[in-house]
Symmetry: C2
Subunit: 485 residues, 2 copies
């Protein structure tokens, strides 16, 4: 696997430029020169947690400290100012890069990022070093901040999740991961000997947190939809009745867009003697902002006994850089900081210096779109997701779409070039498209037409060649010879 | 103290707008309505770690969930598109905000941020959602990234700190704190039972890390300059001879800009039997990028037995939002990730999604300025810092400037409005100005003239009223009646 991933990653640019060797598909570690056996990191080739599985086998993937595609920084020549050579070089790099961004943005389908935004009016603010040092609610002496916007945005989310202004604390984070890191840390401080429970389809940052924080962590099984299996959850908490429970609840899993049943999780805890001895963090990375606008969706609200909710800002809202929102109960932050030595710091955020532009981007979009605007967009996304699922099925492609979700899971295309062209996120034998506001019917048609045409070449013998992915999407969604109805 | 901080914070804007009550200077907790006793967080009113000290006493400061100055997000009216009211409102908020940024940027002296940059050419990139998911060296399927720039920037820093391309691993972080969190985490994974040692003047994020990671942490005394006291360090490691040592070495402390003596730290470790049993993280937030250009400065280099170095990108380089660079040895990342379950993740960064704009800003400045450009700027900063120190002393103000530093520490002005106007960072009885490339002689003159004029009013009786700050800056730098020479 190692070889193939690395080779794939390099093929596109490096090989074309004659700069890098393609490694053989099956790489023998013993054959790799030592300096090439880099990092040994779990793979980054997809958005999903865990090591990449291929051919059913979980492997350590090896990265390489690949430099061939980088834009090196070079020392200016003494006469650069006169000749203008450097300026011309940099302008050409940037122009080329911009073209690639346009193309890559146009062909993007796999990640839950809304790429459709226009913050032109805010370009003027790029001249300022805007930094919301520390706590959003405590003024710092550094004057170039955007706390006014940040608190406005936080209030909006507090309203969405039904918690009073004087009852919550929160901040704009750098990404969904920071929200999870914060929520789980607050949980651990509330229950220092608590055990962390999370379904195995939780985002990898949840397990990263457990390791970082030296917490005991129990993985809970999932249903075929990707939701947490509360029967298994019940069994597992009973094995640890003496210790409080800290639970990560997924409001939309990364791979299948499955929404854990918050009410059932709470019921399971309370029925098993955990009342008053649990802390729930809701990882609402994507759907935390979509769910409130979906009819019949179970509600994420602080009226239920939850401890924190996080959501990403660059996903459904759309933002030039990653960011997120984290809201928790003020009482927890109080508890955590009653001991001044706690963080030995002036604030309860994870990062000390914080990007002051992100709150302004969020403020701008929330003000322009409002609840009604988001509602319309959510409805359109769900409609388009259904359209995609239906057309895939009509074309004989296995496909699944969870009820509350705009994530369409389907058979992984066996052609890595195609996968990369459409930037599909893949895991094992499945791929997915996340239908975001920038994913129009036109774009989906373009993708589908290409997929159908390519597929004829991938599976020339038709039906018998189509892989069975029932284990991932359920028999009713599988189009293999055995399961198709 | 509570009252004064909160009141101070509000006075400037809220009170003028008639929106908030000023609380009495000395606030009795019993008098505060419950909903106002928020958070109980260590104070954020300055850049320094620890609770804010005032009147010599360390207190828990209480923040409030203050909303009065926020720009609320409101739901658009149905006819907003026709009337244009909303657009006009938003434009006016932004215009007002921009004016305040210009004013605040102009009067800024206290924080180590270079506010002088022009990234106009890069404004075009704000249309794209650029995200360097996970590892910089492993291609992701998400195509809208800037890894090419990121790796170019990392290579530049690797060259600066003398480590070969195939020997290092690193990434562009969200800020200096993330660099420290990463470096200390790597140290802990290399030595799971290691004890963290850090001088008490280390950045608060170091102690935050210890708490987050559940590490034993020992604070080491400092000299009057702010440097780590290696005599005390030697004593303390001898008390824990059975456990490896993880050391945070400050390449410029936050308050006094003191540079820990890396060579002496290493010597102390090796002479006390720790050879091969220590991990050094260098927190080079500001000076990590200035030191290489200071003649006679001890060198931060991977040729010495250090494990990682971090530096901030928004400090000396200057950047619209916080960011940083973290470089560590590839072997450590290898060790840490040999166990695939380690981070249960595809990458060894702290944050999963990463701001793809930051590497481009850094790349742009490094390419334009180069080593020579930075060298000139560092020299000018040091010259201007000497100018400031000398003029303060000539005016009878206690002032200290460490040899390798551009941070001028001086008597804290007893006038909070003045402190806020110039955005001075304060701790206890001292304040500081960090002379960055945007701090010109003109700006310093403006500041000094105002300070001298105000001071006549603060201390009408002259000498006898001038506070003694010898405990902070040393007798030789103190201008009080007792110590002035």
């Amino acid at each position: 696997m190692v070889g193939s991933i690395v080779a794939d990653a390099m093929r596109a640019e490096d090989v074309a430029a004659g700069k890098a060797e393609v490694l053989p598909e099956e790489l023998d570690l013993a054959e790799v020169p030592e300096e090439a056996v880099a990092m040994g990191l779990p793979d980054a080739a997809n958005e999903f947690g865990g090591a990449v599985e291929r051919s059913g086998r979980k492997d350590i993937s090896l990265g390489r400290n690949v430099h061939s595609t980088c834009f090196a920084v070079t020392e200016p020549d003494a006469d650069d100012e006169e000749t203008g050579d450097r300026e011309a070089y940099m302008a050409s790099v940037l122009a080329r890069y911009r073209r690639s961004l346009v193309e890559r943005t146009r062909h993007h389908l796999g990640y839950p990022y809304n790429l459709d935004f226009d913050y032109g009016e805010l370009a003027q603010l790029q001249h300022f070093s805007i930094n919301n040092l520390g706590d959003p609610f405590i003024e710092s002496n550094y004057g170039v901040h955007s706390r006014q916007f940040e608190v406005g945005v936080l209030d909006w989310f507090a309203r969405l999740w039904e918690i009073e202004k004087d009852q919550y604390w929160g901040y704009i984070t750098n990404c969904g991961t920071e929200g999870n890191l914060h929520g789980i840390l607050v949980g651990r401080e509330v229950f220092p000997d608590g055990i962390l429970y999370a379904s195995r389809e939780s985002h990898y940052s949840v397990f990263k947190a457990a390791r970082m924080y030296r917490m005991e962590c129990v993985k809970v099984d999932t249903l075929i939809t990707g939701e947490i299996d509360c029967a298994d959850f019940g069994k597992k908490i009973l094995l640890n009745q003496d210790k409080p429970a800290i639970i990560n609840v997924n409001i939309g899993t990364t791979v299948k867009g499955a929404v854990d049943d918050l009410d059932l999780v709470i019921e399971t805890l309370e029925n098993n003697g955990f009342k008053g001895r649990f802390y729930i963090h809701c990882d609402g990375a994507l759907f935390g902002l979509m769910m409130p606008f979906v009819k019949r969706a179970p509600k994420v609200t602080f009226k239920k006994p939850i401890g924190s909710v996080s959501v990403s800002g660059h996903k459904f809202v759309g933002c030039p850089m990653p960011c997120g929102v984290q809201i928790t109960r003020l009482e927890h932050i109080n508890a955590l900081s009653r001991n001044v030595e706690y963080l030995a710091s002036r604030d309860a955020t994870i990062m000390g210096s914080r990007n002051g532009h992100a709150p302004i981007f969020l403020w701008y979009t929330l003000n322009r779109k409002g609840y009604r605007g988001f509602q319309k967009e959510v409805q359109r996304c769900l409609r388009n997701a259904h359209y995609l699922r239906d057309r895939l099925r009509a074309a004989g492609v296995s496909a699944m779409l969870n009820e509350l979700s705009s994530t369409v899971v389907f058979e992984r295309p066996p052609d890595e070039e195609f996968v990369r062209r459409w930037q599909l996120a893949c895991q094992g034998s499945i791929a997915h498209v996340v239908v975001m506001p920038n994913v129009t019917i036109d774009k989906l048609d373009h993708f589908l037409d290409e997929l159908v045409a390519k597929r004829a070449a991938w599976f020339p013998a038709g039906g018998s060649q189509i892989p069975c992915i029932a284990a991932d999407v359920g028999e009713e969604n599988c189009a293999c010879t055995l399961h198709r109805c």
